[in-house]
């Protein structure tokens, strides 16, 4: 254990930081060890106490120095008043008072800030909750509306449609006639286009066969076949109908 070194070395003194940063090896599996969190918490306390003691010792040392000087000065000047309270003491007191006041002010500011932070955080979380609820509510409404629409569609299919009146019947027939014409025209277009493509493929095959023949007959292999096979890559112009 590395920490034993402190006790073996008389010259070395333990510092608060060493208390804070000490590490112990983990006990082997199956053997009883201490709970790490508790050890850590205790070390934290020891550290704080240590810093406190170190600071206290420093200020006591200062106090001893101050008194020693006072006594020496008092002996020299034979002024008993300066033994009790001198200018340096006034400054030391002032520093202490101001430090305490500052720490108090810091605490007030920190408290106010912590409070403001808590309030805004709570407000933000509350807002998030409300937004989430609203979103869920909206989703629910949407699902419901979609469900109803589906039901309505199914119902509409199942119910025999009510008899049409004369005008509606004529309109429907006109619509039907229009659609038939449209489909006829479009079919004609499609046929023409497909035939065009077939024609081109045939052309292509014929010309390729011809050029191959030319090559095998040994006539000018570099010559390009005359006239390129023209594939109608785009369908014939689509004219608007109706």
């Amino acid at each position: 254990m590395t920490s034993m070194a402190w006790f073996e070395d008389e010259q070395r003194r333990l510092t608060p930081d060493e208390v804070q940063s000490v590490t112990f090896p983990v006990s082997r599996l199956g053997r009883r060890g201490l709970e790490e969190e508790s050890v850590r918490a205790f070390l934290h306390m020891v550290h704080a106490e240590f810093v406190h003691l170190v600071n206290e010792r420093a200020s006591l040392w200062q106090e001893v120095q101050r008194l020693r000087h006072r006594i020496l000065d008092g002996e020299r000047t034979a002024d008993e008043g300066s033994v009790l309270f001198g200018e340096a003491d006034a400054h030391a007191h002032a520093v202490r008072i101001l430090s305490n006041a500052q720490v108090t002010a810091d605490r007030y500011v920190a408290d106010a800030q912590a409070y403001s932070s808590r309030v805004t955080e709570e407000a933000r979380l509350r807002r998030d909750d409300i937004m989430r609820e609203a979103q869920q509510h909206a989703d629910l409404l949407l699902d419901e509306a979609q469900g109803r629409a589906r039901e309505a569609a199914v119902a509409a299919l199942n119910v025999t449609s009510p008899p049409l009146n004369e005008r509606e019947r004529q309109a429907a027939q006109a619509e039907l006639a229009y659609l038939r014409t449209y489909s006829d025209v479009y079919r004609a277009h499609l046929r023409a286009y497909t035939e065009g493509v077939l024609q081109s493929i045939e052309d292509w095959e014929r010309k390729e066969a011809a050029s191959l023949q030319e090559v095998t007959l040994g006539r000018d292999p570099g010559r390009q076949p005359s006239g390129e096979a023209s594939l109608p890559l785009a369908p014939p112009n689509r004219r608007s109908i109706g």
């Binding site: 510092t15 608060p16 930081d17 810093v51 170190v54 600071n55 420093a58 040392w61 200062q62 400054h91 002032a94 520093v95 202490r96 101001l98 430090s99 500052q102 720490v103 002010a105 810091d106 500011v109 920190a110 800030q113 912590a114 403001s116 932070s117 808590r118 805004t120 955080e121 933000r124 807002r127």
Partner: protein, 373 residues
């Protein structure tokens, strides 16, 4: 000056913890009450800044170059707090008193000489840097909030008019002080490249209990006169350009410096690199500036914007933690990465990119080593 003796002395007094700076400031304020006005009401953060700076100085006292850069920055930075040459003498006096007080019987004339010499050196570097800076720019700028727009319940976009004009490099930040929170400075990045009208855009997220952010996002912020410190920061495009494509990772208002960088690229004459911007937030509402970014992407063929949300699986785009999303979406090893946002996210993303083979010169993040007055 005996460096090891100095360090030994510091280690001995450092065990006194918070009592050390507490004594120092009390001593300083009693001897020089006028200095108290340079500090905020609560001194708690201030005290830990002082100890941090002392620790840094004492540990680097023999690597002069690095320390000099730190101290020069510190000296320039202190201009906005209103520090002047006389204050340096006062601080030196109280610092020595403090060290003597806590050294107790270990205090020797040699130590006094060491500490005096060390402090004189520190003060000289800081003061010289501050004086050099005086000819170039004011200690702070006045900045009037001319517009404030709430984009999400906790995010506001501010437009600020600085006086005099404030020149900066896109990606940089300034410390901001609010009149209602005197002596509390917080860093915010400019969210635009320098503009013709000189206005600065800031993206402010309301931090729970955050003194300054609360004042800045309050509904009646327009018209408020702020103080702005000198622009600082290293989250800027390398110059000359590295030639690599660019990966930008923005968490929440970390978008601000990266948006400034995009504007800079758009305005440069040279052909722009390809830029991928990942913009992440907890919820879709937190993507407070996505419309503008997508508009920009529609105009600039080199810019791709990928929004991502971590806490709402129903979001239409990418979902998950931002570093995960970035890693999932491609191989970035040949890019320059710029990352800004909550510090945890920035660290994770930077680690992931480094693990994926990106060199340290390719990953750029902001480091606010010194952020307090």
């Amino acid at each position: 000056m005996d460096v090891s003796r100095l360090r030994e002395s510091f280690a001995r007094i450092a065990v006194h913890g918070d009592d050390l700076p507490l004594f120092f400031y009390s001593d300083l304020f009693i001897k020089h009450p006028e200095v108290r006005d340079l500090f905020p009401v609560s001194m708690a953060a201030q005290r830990s800044h002082l100890v941090d700076a002392l620790v840094k100085i004492v540990s680097q006292v023999d690597s002069v170059e690095e320390l000099t850069v730190f101290l020069q920055g510190l000296g320039r930075d202190h201009r906005k707090f209103g520090a002047i040459a006389e204050h340096y003498d006062a601080v030196g006096d109280s610092l020595l008193t403090t060290i003597r007080h806590f050294s107790g019987p270990a205090w020797t004339p040699e130590l006094a000489t060491d500490w005096n010499a060390a402090y004189d050196l520190i003060a000289a570097v800081m003061l010289t840097a501050a004086r050099d800076d005086e000819g170039r720019r004011p200690p702070w700028w006045r900045g009037t909030i001319v517009a404030s727009e709430r984009r999400a319940f906790d995010i506001s976009v501010l437009l600020v008019r600085p006086e005099p004009e404030l020149d900066f490099v896109p990606g940089q930040s300034v410390a901001i002080e609010c009149p209602s929170r005197p002596k509390l400075w917080r860093y915010y990045s400019m969210a635009n490249a320098p503009r013709q009208d000189g206005l600065l855009e800031f993206h402010v997220r309301l931090v729970d209990g955050g003194a300054v952010s609360m004042a800045l996002t309050s509904t009646n912020a327009v018209g408020t006169e702020l103080r702005l410190g000198s622009p600082v920061g290293v989250l800027t495009l390398s110059s000359p350009p590295s030639g690599r494509d660019i990966l930008l990772i923005a968490g929440s208002t970390g978008l601000a410096p990266l948006k400034a960088i995009i504007e800079q690229v758009a305005a440069r004459p040279e052909p722009p690199p390809r830029i991928h911007l990942f913009f992440g937030a907890r919820t879709a509402e937190g993507l407070y500036d996505l419309d503008n970014m997508e508009k920009m992407a529609a105009q600039q063929p080199w810019l791709t914007v990928i929004p991502s949300v971590s806490d709402d699986p129903r979001f239409g785009g990418e979902t998950g933690s931002l570093p995960d999303v970035v890693a999932r979406c491609g191989d970035w090893s040949r890019h320059d990465a710029y990352i800004a946002g909550p510090s945890d996210m920035v660290r994770q993303a930077a680690d992931r990119l480094a693990a994926a083979g990106m060199g340290p010169d390719q990953v750029h993040i902001e480091d606010f080593g010194w952020s307090g007055p």
